[in-house]
């Protein structure tokens, strides 16, 4: 029983990380239709930024997070300006920006590998390393912190898309770009904002997970894959789907390892088999896209 309750916290924390990366994908893909596999690399850039701010300069945690967020806004905005906009303006086919962003992925990874070296670097957690017992639930401080922050981000994102005018303009672009443009919505502003927001959310995932996995140049790709899987499970259309997808993936991973009677080498394949089976049953993911409302 102790194991189960510990694992609930651990899997929920991992699920929140996957969910945040899925949200980063979603923020970009919804209004623009572009899938940016570089979100994992953004998480890596933010983790390295957090390493500099927290471990090297030893700034307070909140200040560090704010600085990293500013850095990520710039990174997202620059990525859009340099790799996406020139292609869209020249009328490149939809897959061209995806390829350009894959190129940016390599650029980010190599920049970090050159700038920070190949070794993993330590990023301290928000409240130190320790075990917190909340009633029956038990886990590390950082696990509870990850869950709390992710809950706040998802609540904020949901509120933004459902309740604010700017959020609705994103939704309008997602539903029909041409109609939205005709209605006076500034498409390039929405695109730039979506990249910046995506970079901030991916960066947050990176900073939150870095105390566990350390900041290093290879940390991005696994996060990008886990986040993308979560996105597909969740349906790739709605904010709550991203979180749900992340949680399902993390629970499937960790409960398989802990309880399924399969050899350790095979356990990591089980969630992907589940994913394939799941997509056969529900090809559009768990949550269906919302219909256009009058």
């Amino acid at each position: 029983m102790t194991d189960l309750l510990e694992l609930l916290v651990s899997a929920a924390a991992s699920g929140c990380i996957y969910g945040l990366v899925a949200l980063a994908y979603l923020l970009i893909t919804r209004p623009t239709g572009i899938i940016n596999f570089g979100v994992g690399e953004w998480a890596m850039v933010a983790a390295c930024g957090a390493y500099v701010a927290l471990s090297r300069i030893e700034l307070p945690y909140a200040v560090s997070i704010a600085l990293v967020a500013v850095l990520m806004v710039a990174v997202g905005w620059l990525t859009e300006r340099l790799a996406v906009r020139p292609l869209v303006v020249r009328g490149a086919p939809p897959l061209a920006p995806v390829l350009a962003l894959l190129g940016m992925l390599v650029v980010f990874r190599e920049l970090v590998s050159l700038g920070f070296g190949p070794d993993p670097q330590p990023v301290p957690p928000a409240f130190g390393f320790g075990r917190l017992e909340l009633g029956l639930l038990a886990g590390s401080y950082q696990s509870f912190f990850i869950i709390a922050i992710a809950a706040a981000v998802f609540a904020g994102a949901w509120y933004f898309f459902e309740r604010t005018l700017t959020g609705r303009s994103f939704e309008a672009v997602a539903l029909d770009r041409r109609a939205a443009a005709l209605m006076g919505i500034n498409l390039s502003r929405v695109t730039a904002l979506s990249f910046s927001a995506g970079a901030v959310v991916a960066g947050l995932a990176g900073v939150l997970v870095a105390p566990n996995v350390s900041a290093h140049y290879l940390m991005g790709m696994p996060l990008a894959i886990q986040g993308f899987t979560a996105l597909v499970i969740g349906g790739a259309t709605r904010v709550e789907g991203a979180l749900l997808g992340g949680l399902i993936l993390a629970f499937a991973e960790q409960f398989t390892v802990r309880y399924a009677p399969v050899p350790p080498g095979l356990a990591m394949g089980v969630p992907l088999v589940l994913l394939i089976a799941f997509l056969l049953v529900r090809p559009a993911g768990l949550l269906r896209p919302r219909e256009a409302r009058a």
Binding site: S113, P120, R131, N212, Q254, R258, P264, G265
Partner: protein
């Protein structure tokens, strides 16, 4: 080299005469071509954290040799190729080095890459050494008389750990590692070593690369109640996850790790998590050779070297020693000289001609200075309890 730009004709004449005289004086050594030694390393791939410091050690060794007049009066020229830890590129890189006239090839990338390079060195009859790979299979799968391995073999590591643990009589143990190629290979070596010594493995867990937690795996270990845990993972991020879960879940049984825990960066990232953890290392900074190496390296590069730099340094120095004894760069003579290496005292160990048979496994050289240590609460100071492992070391 600076080029003089004389201002007057007289000055120009003098300069030309001086240059000619200098050229004539320098003629004899200039005639001697440099000795080319190829290096296959990983500059961008997953082996980079290990390959880079090993390469830096080899580069430093070449600098040191050249500063003392080179080998046999010839300068040592390193031809460095990057294979991205991809075996498909490694073979091409090896061919390029052979064609460029490399007398010897040092393999500093991943074990599978080194394996692939062997197909080329065997065919091209070019001596090849890996001073840093720990995979036991390198000397057992291809019968390549041109290949040697002096790296920290998995079987040597587990033999050392078992020698250390001899008086602790572990009956039931758990193996925890990750799923990189080398991690799996180390796991296999450890498993074989444990099973050979009659220890029961009650749990065997793998933390996949890129995981965000090792809690489920360590919960299974906790449930299996082993007497000790042997850590076979070689990638630092996953090792740190394992160490963190070990503490977080309140596990108390001894934890014994492979040599990757001795890389200083592990102590930086796993701050406070390595206390009391036992691991193997071949680098003993207290030894005179190591002390001299540390001082010289620090003077040249401004940073203190560690074990991985030592592996690269010893590798290149072993090759230089063989070329010196061979009296030239004839590959067959160099091969024979390398095979006859006896009593070469390096930074890490004394390297001896292996005596074990069959011949294939005999080319894994014997390092007789492996020892175990455990970190204390402060820094990387190790406990005085050491265990040397001579038995079976280096022969797979």
């Amino acid at each position: 080299m600076k080029i003089a730009s004389p201002r007057s004709g007289r000055m120009a004449g003098f300069a030309v005469r001086a240059a000619l005289a200098a050229a004539a004086l320098a003629m004899a050594p200039a005639m001697a071509q440099p000795i080319k030694i190829g290096i296959i390393t990983d500059k961008v791939g997953p082996a980079k954290p290990y390959a880079e410091p090993v390469t830096a050690g080899a580069v430093f060794a070449a600098k040191e040799l050249n500063a003392k007049g080179g080998v046999l009066g010839r300068q040592v020229e390193l031809l460095i190729e990057d294979d991205q830890a991809r075996p498909d590129i490694s073979a091409t890189a090896a061919r390029k080095l052979v064609e460029a006239g490399a007398t010897f090839i040092l393999s500093l990338s991943l074990t599978p890459s080194t394996q692939q390079v062997q197909t080329v060195t065997l065919e091209a009859r070019t001596p090849q050494l890996t001073p840093s790979n720990s995979g036991d299979t390198l000397t057992t799968q291809i019968d390549n008389p041109y290949f040697w391995q002096t790296g920290p073999l998995g079987s040597t590591q587990i033999a050392t750990l078992l020698a250390y643990a001899a008086n602790r009589s572990f009956k039931r143990v758990a193996l925890v590692g990750e799923n990189s190629d080398l991690g799996q290979l180390t796991n296999r070596s450890f498993k074989a070593g444990l099973e050979k010594s009659g220890v029961q493995i009650v749990a065997e867990e793998v933390v996949p690369r890129g995981s965000t937690t090792a809690d489920p795996q360590m919960q299974k270990v906790r449930a299996a109640k082993p007497d000790a845990i042997f850590l076979t993972g070689v990638t630092t991020p996953e090792n740190v996850l394992i160490l963190r879960s070990y503490r977080q879940l309140g596990l108390k049984m001894p934890l014994l790790g492979n040599f990757n825990l001795s890389v200083p960066q592990t102590a930086v990232v796993a701050k406070g998590l390595l206390d009391g953890v036992v691991f193997v290392d071949a680098f003993d900074p207290a030894k005179p050779e190591a002390r001299r190496f540390i001082e010289a390296y620090k003077k040249e590069n401004g940073v203190e070297p560690y074990n991985l730099n030592g592996y690269g340094y010893d590798g290149l120095m072993l090759v230089a020693d063989a070329i010196k004894r061979a009296g030239g760069t004839d590959k067959e003579k160099v091969r024979a000289a390398m095979q006859a290496t006896q009593g070469y005292v390096g930074v890490l160990a004394r390297w001896d001609r292996p005596t074990a048979s069959p011949p294939a496994s005999a080319r894994a050289s014997t390092a007789t200075a492996w020892w175990c240590g455990c970190t204390k609460a402060t820094g990387r100071a190790r406990s005085s309890s050491r265990a040397r492992s001579d038995a079976g070391a280096g022969t797979s």
